[in-house]
């Protein structure tokens, strides 16, 4: 089992320059500590216009800063929006390669297509075609990274032959993932040989089904890249405290705040009738859970908050379902004071991480191991 941090970078009103800087600095301080404590990944989302929920619109800059202050932790775009109005594919290839070089080969590239009208409408993107453009982008990226020259004529973008520079530090290229929120996207991930970067907070039963289907289908995948990145990551909240009650209370507060902010987002389906957004993704579950920011209702099972023993039980359950990595959200709207976030990370690293230090065979493979597998 691997552990990571997952950043939306949620910033409460009023948005003074100092507050935004403070929150960013808090995140960087957490990442630096996580690196020292042995966490495996730090992921950062790409979101635009999502007030309070996420001010992380330039994750490549945040991740570069993370890479510059750390030594080992791997940095993940979680995710790059693969829609032409948001990001040109050439720029994605160039920026990710640069980040991979600067981080010394520690980059993971998550891909996705955006789920909110707030974002898609803001860029005047057509929701009907985001899945198709994502599919084109993920098939082009490995070639743009690996081929000396590249040209392309597709449905959503094209370019004449050029040399895209620089090339990534990792060879053949960084591991690729896809964000999985809507039901069925785990199949898209498996069929393309991509890692499944779960961003929803589904319960055990639903996750088990998804993971099982992912594992089954990826066996016969046609990878878009040079290797198969068979990994399943899920997202969770983390608040670890010596006292279980204190840990649960703060963890619930964190979860409720995050969920309530998330439910304020305008999902694409809510306003734009489209066959491309049949599912509301993670929102229905969040709306059931998010009765209010101060609610005390039971949240989705398997949350990583409480004392170390409770969190160990939750993580073991996820591990038994086949999860390779859990990425933790540490804060939302700064409801957890920074000193408590840091203490929670330290306690988790001291009491929980050692229990899971041994990697299950055949699951959480490193990029190099995966490359080797591909070479075989």
């Amino acid at each position: 089992m691997k552990f990571g941090l997952f950043y939306e970078i949620s910033i409460p009103r009023p948005w003074t320059p100092e507050k935004e800087r403070t929150v960013y600095n808090n995140c960087l301080e957490q990442v630096k500590l996580a690196d020292e404590l042995g966490f495996d990944h730090v992921w950062a989302v790409e979101h635009h216009f999502l007030e309070e929920y996420s001010h992380c619109s330039a994750p490549e800059l945040f991740l570069t800063a993370c890479a510059m202050i750390t030594k080992n932790i791997q940095v993940g775009h979680g995710i790059v929006v693969c829609v032409p109005e948001f990001n040109h594919p050439i720029k994605i290839a160039e920026k990710t390669a640069t980040l991979d070089i600067l981080s010394g080969g520690r980059l993971h590239v998550g891909t996705g297509r955006s789920a909110t009208w707030t974002e898609l409408g803001g860029f005047r993107a057509n929701p009907d075609i985001t899945k198709k453009s994502w599919d084109e982008f993920v098939r082009c990226l490995p070639k743009m990274w690996m081929q000396e020259t590249f040209s392309y004529q597709g449905e959503f973008w094209s370019m004449p032959e050029r040399t895209i520079l620089p090339k990534p530090y990792q060879k053949p290229h960084p591991p690729m993932w896809v964000a999985v929120t809507s039901p069925g996207t785990e199949i898209d991930a498996a069929d393309r040989g991509l890692g499944s970067l779960g961003l929803s907070f589904a319960g055990f039963e639903e996750q088990e089904k998804k993971i099982s289907e992912y594992r089954r289908r990826i066996k016969s995948c046609e990878p878009v890249g040079a290797f198969v990145n068979e990994q399943v990551a899920t997202t969770n909240f983390l608040f670890c405290h010596e006292d279980e009650k204190t840990g649960v209370e703060m963890g619930k507060r964190l979860g409720n705040t995050f969920n309530y902010l998330a439910t304020q987002l305008i999902s694409t389906r809510e306003v734009f009738a489209s066959p491309s957004y049949q599912s509301l993704g993670l929102l229905p579950a969040l709306r059931r859970a998010a009765t209010g920011p101060d609610a005390n209702e039971q949240q989705t099972e398997g949350m990583a908050y409480g004392d170390p023993a409770r969190i160990i039980r939750a993580v073991k359950k996820w591990e038994s379902l086949g999860v390779d990595c859990i990425n933790f959200i540490l804060n939302a709207n700064e409801v957890v004071p920074q000193d408590q976030v840091m203490a929670s990370l330290r306690l988790f690293a001291k009491e929980v991480m050692p229990v899971f230090a041994k990697e299950p065979a055949g699951k959480a493979l490193s990029a190099h191991a995966l490359s080797a597998r591909a070479a075989e």
Binding site: P12, R13, F49, E51, E52, W117, T118, G121, G122, T257, N259, Y260, L261, T263, Q264, I266, R269, E270, V271, F272, A273, S274, P275, Q278, L286, R287, A290, T291, G292, P293, A295, N333
Partner: protein, 256 residues
């Protein structure tokens, strides 16, 4: 935390519809044809239109709908409504700003049963091969002229209708008082089409919509559905956040 509306509906309670009770019987409304246009509006123009209990949708948008009800307990009628996209707690809702019904009987019943701020007027629902049109006039003046251009078939499952919230006076705990009422129809789709919204005339003041100006069209749909106006299940304190001030009036239906 999320922004809240600033409208205090208790400050002008006399202007609100008044319900005799919260025991409204449901209406079954088969084979209704619903033209619905969603359009973004500048956030500054929605200030003061949303009750304090609710959160604004970001970006701000309105829902313009013109519906042809071919059967109802008060006979056939057309209804045009303007709703403001918003949130009741965690849930997407359309707060009703204004409505016009094509018959006096429908207007009276909709006001008195579900708290729709509705008046009688001329409401037309017109279908052409290249568009579906809705027009509304009050006292001879056109207050809405809109259309769904070039409708193309989609699946009913592609369309999501969000529930309504109305503001009205109603008896609760022995006292008639202003409150927010959730109106949550069900829909069974027979036909669904999608197209581009077009608005040729819109008189915001006639819809109690303050200074709202229509800015960026999102999408338009026209659907044939079996629907209803159900019994009232939830009411909300207009001044408290919805997650603190919601009261369940009766249990949900068996299919919920």
């Amino acid at each position: 935390m999320p922004l809240y509306g600033t409208l205090d509906i208790t400050a002008n309670a006399k202007a609100l519809p008044t319900l005799a009770n919260l025991d409204t019987e449901a209406w079954t409304l088969p084979k209704a044809e619903m033209l619905q246009l969603l359009i973004e509006v500048p956030r500054s123009t929605t200030d003061g239109l949303l009750p304090k209990a609710m959160h604004p949708a970001l970006p701000s948008y309105v829902i313009l709908a013109v519906t042809k009800y071919s059967e109802s307990p008060v006979g056939p009628f057309n209804l045009a409504v303007l709703r403001l996209g918003s949130r009741a707690g965690a849930h997407p809702r359309g707060f009703l700003l204004g409505a016009v019904a094509s018959t006096e009987a429908a207007a009276k019943e909709l006001r008195g049963r579900w708290g729709l701020l509705v008046e009688a007027g001329e409401v037309k629902f017109l279908r052409r091969h290249d568009r579906v049109m809705g027009t509304v006039a009050k006292a001879g003046k056109t207050i809405l002229d809109c259309a769904l251009i070039d409708p193309q078939p989609v699946a009913g499952t592609d369309v999501q209708y969000i529930n309504w919230v109305t503001a009205a006076n109603a008896p609760l705990d022995g006292q008639t008082q202003p409150m927010l009422i959730q109106v949550d129809p069900k829909y069974t789709f027979y036909k669904a089409e999608r197209g581009k919204p077009q608005v040729n005339a819109f008189d915001a003041a006639a819809w109690n919509a303050g200074a709202i100006t229509l800015a960026d069209p999102i999408v338009g749909t026209c659907c044939t559905v079996d629907t209803d106006l159900p019994r009232i299940r939830f009411v909300m304190d207009p001044l408290k956040p919805v997650f603190q001030g919601t009261r369940r009036i009766r249990e949900s239906r068996a299919d919920e």
